[in-house]
Symmetry: C2
Subunit: 231 residues, 2 copies
């Protein structure tokens, strides 16, 4: 990169981050409410004590997150009083225990719904994915096993048919991936067995909603307990 | 705004959005994997068919969302293969039915945990917030009622003690706000009664986890059923 390119670079992240944080605080505190127009760029820059460029970048980032909405020729409006990026950041900073527990909650509810919604084809698909998953020793590479495990659990969420749940579960199963790795690396943590997974599909097959939710808890329960004991 | 200010404005959102979308597709498809370095700015701009400025802005937005990580003097790396902003956008585009159902799932699990975790002070706090909530007719303004309702449900999530769940629930209770408004505006949809809410706190007080989860389902159930029937 040339010296010149460096000179035209964006303001340091910390300044933009600080501007974003200040705007977010105004919104979260209720000083600027949903539907209201926020101060114009120059006024906002003065308020935040940063340059117009930094202000503009902060607005762009918050627009992308749909917290703000820029209406050309009119002004910038508050669209949502919670920043989804910040929520996800806080969620991912929570403990591994809380993270797994949340995933278990989502999955138990997905299984409960799947049991009432499932078609015969869904059951066949879940059994097939479970066969691919197998146990860890069936795979030459840990990565392959983790992929197969995520594929099964994601398909389970899909059978629930709830779009909001499917999207959220997809996020957590990917975001938690590094978590899974570190857990599998530690020998003192239990690895959920294939049989316990089969019990989930069995319950879904016989359309037993409570049984399916319970079977999910029995798969993840020992892991969550081990994480709780460790902390 | 002066003509000059307009000239120095950012590229049109659609171009940046398209660049973001293309980078995201590369990452979601697995072409660029977590931990890998992505092409340099000029090369990336050529690949995407956009200017360096547009490329730079796309990278900034995705860095803020923690999908990418810019390491000064080294390069830009893939940090996460799911974009939290995009997940939240898809979740909020799901139907009102799916949205309420997801919130009910999170809340049922929060209540289940709250029943085993609660202190005596928690129960007192929940009863106090429920008294403030009352019924809709106790409030001169609908907005006040919605605020009081959200305050109760958020406190319930807090008693669960799971940070990840608390953050996520906070997001949904705010994001769903406009949903609540439209629901309350429609006379044919049932409004959850105060007594049904009291049953949740009663179950939490007697440390009945299953009962608490069930009581939550009975609060939101009729609303979810009405939304399902409507679609």
């Amino acid at each position: 990169m040339t010296r010149n390119a460096t000179l035209t670079q964006a303001p340091r992240r910390s300044l933009v981050d600080s501007a974003i944080e200040q705007i977010r605080t105004q919104i979260e505190s209720g000083a600027w409410r949903v539907g209201e127009r926020i101060p114009k760029e120059q006024e906002l820059a003065d308020l935040l004590g940063v340059s117009r460029n930094t202000t503009r970048e902060a607005i762009r980032v918050l627009s992308h997150a749909e917290v703000l909405e820029v209406r050309q020729g009119d002004g910038t409006y508050v669209r949502l009083n919670v920043d989804p990026t910040e929520v996800m950041r806080r969620v991912s900073r929570s403990s591994l225990h809380d993270h797994f527990e949340l995933r278990a909650m989502l999955e138990a509810e997905a299984a409960r719904r799947a049991a009432t919604q499932r078609s015969d084809a869904d059951v066949i698909k879940l059994r097939k994915l479970l066969k691919v998953r197998g146990n860890q020793e069936d795979h030459s590479r840990l990565e392959k096993f983790v992929d197969a495990d995520i594929a099964f659990h994601s398909a389970l969420a899909s059978v629930s048919g709830n779009t909001a749940l499917i999207e959220l579960y997809r996020y957590f199963s990917q975001a938690i991936r590094s978590g899974v790795w570190s857990v599998l690396d530690e020998v003192d943590l239990p690895e959920p067995a294939l049989e316990a997974h089969e019990a989930i599909v069995d319950a879904i097959e016989r359309k037993d909603a409570e049984g399916a939710a319970l079977a999910v808890r029995e798969v993840v329960g020992p892991l969550i307990k081990a994480l709780a004991d460790r902390s």
